[in-house]
């Protein structure tokens, strides 16, 4: 298994979602409040992962512009839950940086002015310890 395939497996494992179930209806992208900020749109996450374009996902702004509002997870008709794929991408990045978890002292400098509280709460929920 190559590094890439391993990462795809990890994404599937972390997210618990199956990107192959996506039928590209676009409901996630239609629901996304951060649409204009996302360079890779929510519906594209599944196809990027299937195709193995993981580098592009990791380098994207989109993973960090997602508000974790879970609208896409709630509304996805195929139970692909794109928000979880985005979340898993973030986690891959965190793991690549060494240590699986975000240190609390790192948080303040990552905080942007316009970052919603909801994302912060979501991040702590995911990266707590």
């Amino acid at each position: 298994m190559t590094e890439l395939e391993k990462n795809i497996e990890i994404i599937k494992e972390i997210s618990g979602s199956d990107p192959y179930k996506c039928m590209r209806c676009g409901k996630c992208t239609a629901s996304c409040p951060a649409y204009s900020e996302m360079d890779i749109k929510p519906h594209q996450f599944a196809s990027y992962i299937i195709r193995g374009d993981l580098e592009e996902l990791i380098d994207s702004k989109a993973a960090w512009k997602c508000l974790s509002c879970f609208a896409c997870i709630e509304r996805c008709p195929r139970d692909v839950q794109p928000g979880k794929l985005v979340d898993a991408t973030r986690q891959i990045v965190a793991r690549q940086r060494g240590g699986d978890y975000l240190q609390p002292e790192e948080v303040p400098e990552l905080l942007a002015e316009d970052l919603p509280q909801q994302l912060l709460v979501s991040a702590f929920r995911r990266y707590r310890r």
């Binding site: 192959y20 039928m23 590209r24």
Partner: protein
């Protein structure tokens, strides 16, 4: 003088929204002959019909004008209603103020004006109507099915099982049609041969079914219940009675098994000898000699097959034979083919042997096919590792190259092909370029999703711009990924094209013989798209399978059964009512010029010498006679007759000119 009642229908808002119905009633009330006029919400409803019956009785009406929908829709209804009240049904005229007025106009004032004019014309005509009596004609209790594919087979079996005799005419040497070429069928993936061949055998053994294979319909005359059909049984050059179907002639001929003629059944992927059965399970299992390609017929030398045949069945002297059979009903089940791809240079189909059509892929994957079921490239016989499927090749094209309609079966068979390939050769990568994936049908979408979710077939939304064969034998497919907004250059080693479906090219000739109407795409037209989907507008002609429109096997089988029921419904009758609106010849005016006989599409006009007394002058004249059993009342003779001797009952020249006068008044 007639006493005419005029009834104007609102048809809910269908008419009333555009035509001022009350105003029409007021304006037609004073037309000559009209003694009663009224309107109603739904004239065809029970209450509406009651209204008509009451008025007939109360006012002693002798003629009716119903201003409503097209006579094709409800003329029968209103005629039956008049008959109930004791009026001759042919004293009813329908003025079409829906399809020909309210539905096509927007301006209420103009539409109302037109409705009044249409009503006025109908009233003028009814003034000249005379009561007509329907005749009776017998029904020949035998049906003809043209085409021996799954549609024809199923229709024939259903009719035969109901106890009526059926003949199947198939132009190929064997029945089975397209389905016999297929490998597996969606969505259950059962083997096509396994479900088809038992039906083929059943057809062959059924006491009520007669097979005419390697035969074509040559001429059709007559009418519903009484068709006369000439069938040309092409010379098979093999004696049916003697041949045992052993197959020796095909395998031990001058070229052995290989042959040198591209096999039609294997879509040219394999050769066959000149004496051949299209496939091993052919029904009947009697070969034919393809005389155009046979050395003996071309040069007079060879005759090897005759020498080999252990039962001396080969007969080079056989001639085409024409049999004439009487039928009560005819079913057209002529099926389909795929379009010619010559105009689609961008897909490199004619350029590269590894660009194939889906039907060729069916043969390549079939255990009885040219490769014994091993999927391989035609160029180097290597197994393909990267396959691209292209959807909608020629379907949904509003240009002069393709067809405007969706071929309906391609999405499903492509998902089927992809899964079958992945099942047998799991390390093959498959990409499907599509515009839309259309899977309406029971268990159809689940089937397609299985290809994506379980078999990881890569579906990309976007058409292919160009297929570029490379010098190293690979192929580059240049396409769009619309969802990611990218152009893709996909390297692969095989391309499969889902070519559009078209009706069998021979259907035009057959439809002309049957006077059955066909649409712009050569599909047979149904009598009513929703309510009479398996009947042609021509009485006694029924439709089954792809000849009517693209459909899959389950739908074809359902339609075949429906057509059979309609046929049985017709054959179960002992007598049919005949249309009394037939042509009549005024022998005093006829000069025997033969013009009418030349234009009559039904062969209903003959000539005979009669004694006439023309104003005291006795003489013998050659005059036209109409066989009312054959006449369909088309009116071609009445307009062609130079002396005005031909007249159509119910649509007399006087009635029509009076109508025109009323419109122009």
């Amino acid at each position: 003088m007639q006493k005419i009642g005029v009834f104007v229908c609102h048809c809910g808002t269908n008419i009333a929204a555009t035509v001022d119905v009350k105003k029409v009633v007021e304006l037609v009330r004073y037309e000559p002959g009209v003694v009663f006029a009224d309107d109603y919400m739904y004239m065809c409803s029970e209450a509406g019909q009651e209204k008509i019956i009451e008025a007939i009785k109360e006012y002693g009406l002798t003629g009716l004008v119903i201003c409503s929908c097209s006579p094709r829709m409800h003329e029968k209804t209103f005629r039956a209603c008049a008959e109930k009240a004791g009026l001759n049904p042919y004293m009813v005229e329908v003025a079409n103020i829906r399809e020909q007025c309210s539905w096509i106009h927007k301006d209420k004032e103009e539409a109302t004006k037109k409705a009044v004019i249409l009503a006025r014309a109908a009233i003028a005509k009814v003034n000249l109507n005379t009561p007509l009596q329907e005749g009776e004609s017998p029904v020949t209790k035998r049906a003809l099915v043209i085409g021996g594919g799954i549609a024809g087979i199923q229709t024939a079996l259903d009719i035969a099982d109901a106890g009526y005799e059926v003949d199947i005419v198939e132009k190929e040497p064997s029945i089975g049609g397209r389905m016999s070429q297929f490998d597996k069928t969606f969505p259950t993936l059962d083997c096509a041969s396994c479900i088809l061949t038992p039906k083929m055998v059943e057809v062959n053994q059924h006491p009520n079914i007669t097979l005419y294979t390697y035969s074509e319909v040559e001429k059709v005359s007559g009418y519903v219940g009484n068709f006369d059909v000439d069938i040309r049984k092409k010379a098979r050059s093999v004696d049916f009675g003697k041949c045992t179907g052993c197959g020796e002639c095909q395998t031990k001929g001058p070229l052995g098994k290989i042959g040198n003629i591209p096999s039609e059944f294997d879509r040219g992927l394999k050769n066959r000898p000149a004496i051949y059965m299209p496939f091993a399970q052919a029904v009947p299992a009697v070969p034919v000699i393809d005389r155009e390609n046979c050395t003996y017929f071309k040069t007079g030398k060879c005759g090897v097959c005759a020498k080999i045949c252990p039962s001396k069945a080969v007969d080079y002297e056989q001639q085409d034979e024409i049999v004439t059979v009487k039928y009560g009903a005819i079913v057209v089940a002529t099926g389909f083919d795929i379009i010619n791809l010559d105009k689609y240079g961008e897909y490199a189909y004619n350029e590269c042997p590894d660009v194939i059509t889906s039907i060729e892929l069916e043969r390549l994957m079939n255990a009885a096919g040219p490769t014994g079921g091993h999927l391989e490239r035609m160029s180097d016989h290597k197994a393909p590792k990267e396959i691209v499927f292209i959807q909608c090749v020629g379907s949904r094209c509003d240009d002069d190259k393709g067809k405007p309609y969706c071929s309906k079966v391609c999405c499903m068979y492509t998902a089927k092909h992809a899964m079958l390939i992945k099942d047998h050769w799991p390390d093959t990568n498959i990409t499907v370029f599509y515009i839309d994936v259309r899977t309406p049908g029971k268990n159809f979408d689940e089937f397609y999703r299985r290809a994506v979710e379980q078999y990881h077939v890569n579906y990309i939304k976007g058409q292919v711009g160009k297929v570029k064969p490379q010098p190293d034998g690979s192929i580059i497919v240049q396409a769009a990924d619309l969802l990611d907004g990218k152009q893709i250059n996909k390297k692969c080693d095989m391309v499969v094209l889902a070519a559009a479906i078209e009706p069998n090219p021979g259907v035009r000739k057959i439809a002309t013989m049957l006077t059955a109407s066909i649409d712009n795409n050569n599909f047979l037209t149904e009598a009513h798209a929703k309510l009479r989907p398996v009947e042609s507008p021509t009485a006694g002609i029924f439709l089954s399978g792809m000849a009517q429109g693209p459909k899959d096997i389950p739908e074809t089988v359902s339609q075949a059964g429906a057509a059979a029921v309609k046929v049985v419904g017709l054959l179960a009758k002992d007598k049919l009512k005949t249309n009394p609106c037939t042509a009549q010849c005024d022998t005093l005016l006829c000069n025997g010029c033969s013009t009418c006989a030349n234009v009559c599409p039904y062969g209903a006009i003959t000539y005979e010498d009669v004694q006439v007394n023309d104003h005291g002058l006795r003489e013998t004249r050659r005059v036209a006679q109409v066989n009312v059993a054959l006449c369909q009342g088309c009116g071609a003779c009445t307009s062609a007759c130079p002396s005005g001797a031909m007249d159509l009952q119910g649509f007399s020249n006087r009635q029509i000119t009076t109508e025109v006068d009323a419109i122009c008044r």
